[in-house]
Symmetry: C2
Subunit: 461 residues, 2 copies
C-alpha cells in the first residue's frame, strides 16, 4: 500500500490533553515536519497534569494545582502543538475521518488518537447525583473538593478503600475533618491480600480515620436543596456533609464504543502493542482509556495509571510518526505487571504481579508466603518493620507477585519484584540477586530476598 500521506501534509488529532494525549502529541510533533498539524482537543482547561497528586494538594502538601501541571497549554503551543481547550469531542466518524465537537465544525484527521482518560465509578444509587458527592479524577474534581472543605463540613465520608479513597481520607483527617471510610468488603484496600489489609485498617484507626468495613452503600439522603446529608448503608444511615467516591474508575470510552471500536475490561479500548486500535488502521489509543496486557497472565486488564499513560503515549507517537513517515516503528508496549504503591498514614504499601486469587484465576498453582523483616539492618537506630507477601508458581518456580506493607523505606523495594516479573525470574533467581546491601539501607538479605527464601522453602515442603 503506497503511503499517500508522505506526499502531503498530515493532520494528527488527539482527543484528550492529559498525560497520554500530550505525550502522543509531543512525541509526534518532534518527529513530523512542521508542515504537518498536531491538534489536541481538550474539553477542560488543563494539560499534562498529575491526577495522582490531587490528594497531596488537598492535604496541603502541594500548594496549588499549577504545581501538578507538568506542562501548560501555552508551553505545548510553543512546541508547535495546536491545543484547543474547552473543546469536547462528542463523536467520531472513522469512515470520513472526522471528529464532531460540541461547538464548531467537525475536525478532520488523518490519524486519530483516543486519550480520553477514565472517569470515577458512580454507581447508579438513589441520590448519587446530589451536591457534595465527588469523584477524584481531574484537577477540577480536586478544586471542587477543596471548595467543599472550605465550607467546613462536619463529617466527610469516603466510599471505597482503594488507594485514592484512602489517600483522600488521610488528606481530610490531616486537615482536621471527621472522616469515615465505608468499604463493602470485610478488609480494606482490595489490591492487597486481606492479611495485609488488616495492617492498613489498624493504621487508619491509629490516625483517627473511622472505618466501617463490610458495609454496603445503598444510597444518599439529600436535603431540599439537593445536597447530601447522609450516606445510606445496609447498616443504617451515616451523616455526611461531603462524600468522596473512591470506587475506582472505568475507561471514558463511550464515544469510542459508539464508533465501533473494540472495548475490553472496564471499557478499555483494545489496542495492539503499538497502541493501534484493533481493526482501525488510522486510530490509536493510550492511557486510562485503554485495556492493557498483563505480562504475567497474558490477559487484558484496565490499569489507569500515569506511568502507563506516559509509556503508551510514547509508543503511540512512535507508531504514528513511523506510519506517516513510512518508517519501521521502534517501540512497542510490552504490557504491565500491575505495580502500585502508596503512602498511607504511617504505612507504605505496594504490590506487583498477582495476588493469590488472581494467580488461581489465571490457572497457576500458587504458593504464598509472608515474612516479617526490618527495613534496614536491625541494629540501626531507624530500623522499621515490614511485611512482604510473595506468590510463586509451584510448577515453574517463577515469581508471580509480591506485596509489601511496612514503615518508612519499605514499599519501593517492590520495584525489584516488578523487574523480576518482567525478566521472568524464579524465586531461586531472586534469592541469588546481587542487591544493594549496607546497614543504613538493608539487612544482608534484602526483604524481597527474605520472602523469596521463604518461597523456596515452601516449594520444597
Amino acid at each position: 500500500m503506497p503511503n499517500y500521506a508522505l506526499a502531503m501534509t498530515s493532520r494528527v488529532v488527539v482527543i484528550g490533553g492529559d498525560a497520554a494525549g500530550m505525550s502522543v502529541a509531543a512525541g509526534v510533533r518532534r518527529r513530523l515536519p512542521d508542515t504537518d498539524e498536531v491538534i489536541v482537543l481538550e474539553r477542560g482547561t488543563w494539560t499534562s497534569y498529575s491526577a495522582c497528586g490531587i490528594p497531596y494538594w488537598v492535604a496541603g502538601d502541594v500548594e496549588s494545582p499549577e504545581a501538578l501541571v507538568a506542562r501548560t497549554p501555552e508551553e505545548h503551543r510553543r512546541n508547535g502543538i495546536d491545543v484547543r481547550l474547552g473543546v469536547e469531542a462528542v463523536a467520531i466518524d472513522p469512515a470520513r475521518r472526522t471528529v464532531s465537537v460540541t461547538d464548531g465544525d467537525p475536525v478532520a484527521y488523518d490519524r486519530l488518537v483516543f486519550a480520553t482518560g477514565a472517569e470515577p465509578v458512580r454507581p447508579d444509587l438513589p441520590g448519587i447525583g446530589g451536591d457534595g458527592i465527588h469523584g477524584v479524577q481531574s484537577l477540577d474534581d480536586g478544586q471542587a473538593i477543596l471548595d467543599e472543605l472550605e465550607r467546613d463540613p462536619r463529617r466527610v465520608v469516603v466510599v471505597g478503600s482503594g488507594y485514592i479513597g484512602l489517600e483522600m481520607a488521610e488528606a481530610c483527617v490531616l486537615r482536621g475533618f471527621d472522616t469515615t471510610v465505608i468499604e463493602k468488603a470485610e478488609t480494606v484496600m482490595p489490591i492487597i491480600e486481606a492479611s495485609l489489609g488488616d495492617q492498613v485498617a489498624e493504621a487508619m484507626r491509629a490516625r483517627g480515620i473511622q472505618l466501617r468495613a463490610g458495609v454496603g452503600v445503598t444510597g444518599f439522603t439529600l436535603d431540599d436543596a439537593g445536597r447530601v446529608t447522609a450516606v445510606e448503608t445496609d447498616d443504617g444511615a451515616m451523616p455526611a456533609d461531603l462524600v468522596i467516591l473512591g470506587l475506582g474508575v472505568t475507561a471514558r470510552s463511550a464515544m469510542a464504543g459508539s464508533a465501533g471500536l473494540p472495548l475490553g475490561p472496564k471499557g478499555g479500548i483494545v489496542v495492539d502493542d503499538r497502541q493501534r486500535v484493533e481493526g482501525f488502521a488510522d486510530i490509536w489509543a493510550a492511557g486510562d482509556c485503554v485495556a492493557t496486557l498483563d505480562r504475567v497472565t497474558g490477559e487484558l486488564v484496565h490499569l489507569p495509571l500515569g506511568t502507563h499513560a506516559n509509556k503508551q503515549g510514547m509508543v503511540a507517537a512512535d507508531s504514528i510518526a513511523a506510519d506517516l513517515l513510512g518508517e519501521e516503528p521502534r517501540l512497542s508496549f510490552p504490557g504491565v505487571v500491575q505495580t502500585a504503591i502508596t503512602k498511607f498514614c504511617s504505612l507504605e504499601i505496594s504490590r506487583t504481579g498477582l495476588g493469590e486469587q488472581q494467580a488461581r484465576d489465571a490457572g497457576f498453582d500458587p504458593v504464598v508466603v509472608s515474612i516479617e523483616t526490618t527495613t534496614v539492618a536491625g541494629y540501626m537506630p531507624h530500623a522499621g518493620t515490614m511485611t512482604v507477601l510473595m506468590v510463586a508458581d509451584r510448577r515453574t518456580r517463577r515469581l508471580l507477585g509480591a506485596q509489601i506493607v511496612g514503615e518508612e523505606d519499605a514499599a519501593l523495594r517492590i520495584d525489584v519484584a516488578a523487574t523480576a516479573l518482567a525478566g521472568g525470574l524464579t524465586v531461586d533467581d531472586i534469592v541469588m540477586l546481587d542487591l544493594a546491601y549496607a546497614p543504613p539501607f538493608s539487612s544482608v538479605w534484602s526483604p524481597i530476598q527474605v520472602a523469596a527464601r521463604a518461597a523456596v522453602k515452601a516449594l520444597v515442603g
Copy 2:
C-alpha cells in the same frame, strides 16, 4: 565412586566463624544427622558479625559491638555446632585431611571449608607497623579505633577513599575530630565514575572533612615509642595521631595458597558454582576469601561483601550436605554484578555492573549517559535531587551498569538495575518496566528509567 561417608560419621571443619563460615556451618548442621560433627575454628572471639556495621558503631549510631553480632558462639553451640574460639588454623594437609592449629593437635576433617575472610591492605611502606595505624575489618579493629578516639587524637587521617574509608571519616567528623582523607587518585570513591566522585568530594567538604586528592602516601613518621605522628606524602608530611587505612582488602588466603589451592584476583580462592575449590573435591570456600564470577563480564573478581558471603555460605552448605548424603545439590551461586551502596555525609551513593572503563576493558562498546532528576515527584515538598549514570552496550543494547549519587531515597533504586542485569534486560526493556509510581515515591518515570531513556536516545544518535 561409592560414597563411604554415607556409612560413617562425617566431620565438617570450617575455618573462620564470621558470615560465610557460620552460614556454612549452620546450613550443614541443619541437613546432617546429629551423629555427624560440624566444627568451626575461629581465631577471634566473635561469630557471625556485621563488619559493615563498624563505621556506625564508631559513629555512635550503634551502641555496642554486641548489636552487630547476628548470632553468638553460644547460640551456635546450642544449635549443635562445635565452635572453637581462639583457635587459629595455620596450615592444611589436603592429602591427610587435617588442619594444623597454633595450639593443640591437628584437627582431622572429612570436608573442609575455607571461610577465612579478608584482610585490610597494608602497603609495605616505612612505618606502616607503627602504633595508631589501623585497618577496618574485624570487630577488634573497630574496638581498637574506638580506643584510639578515647585518647582524643588531634588529627585523624584516613588513607584511601573507598566506601569504608569514607564512612570511617564521617564517623570521626561526627564525633568532632579533625579528619583528613588522602586519596591517590584525582577523584574520590574509585568505585564510581569521576563525574559522580566530584559530588562526593563536595559533600565531604560541606561536612568538614578535609580532602587531599591526587596525593600519594609514601610512609609514616613514628615517635620514639613507635607511635605514628605524621603521614608522609609526595606532597609533604601531614600530622596525624590516628591513621585509618581505607585501602580495600585482599583475600586472607595465604594458608590456602600454601596448600596448593588455586588463587585468583586479590588472592581470592577459585571455586566452582557450588563453592567447591577447583581441583579439591573435599574442600569448599565461601565469603571474602574467594574469587567470584562477575555475571556481566564472565571474569573472576574479588568482591568481599556480607551479602555474597551469606549466599555463598548457603550454597556451600547445600553442596557439602548433598555430597555427604549422596543427594543432588539444589543450589548454585550465579555470581555477582558488583552492586554496592553507602550513605555518606548528605549523599546516598550506589553502583552496579560495569563503569565505562570496566566495560571497555571487558570488550564492550559502551554508551554512557548521565541524567539529573528528582527523587520523588518534583512538586512534593521532600523532593531531592539525584544523578543516575548508565552504561549500555552499543551492540546488544543491554544494560551494563548504573551508578547513583543523590539525596535521601536515591540510592536503593540501584536494585532495579541490579535485577535488570541478572535478567539480561536491554535499556529498551528498562524504559518499559512497570515500576512503582506515586508522588511520594517517584516521578512518573522512575529515575532508572529516565537514565534508560537517555541511553536509548544516545544509542539512536
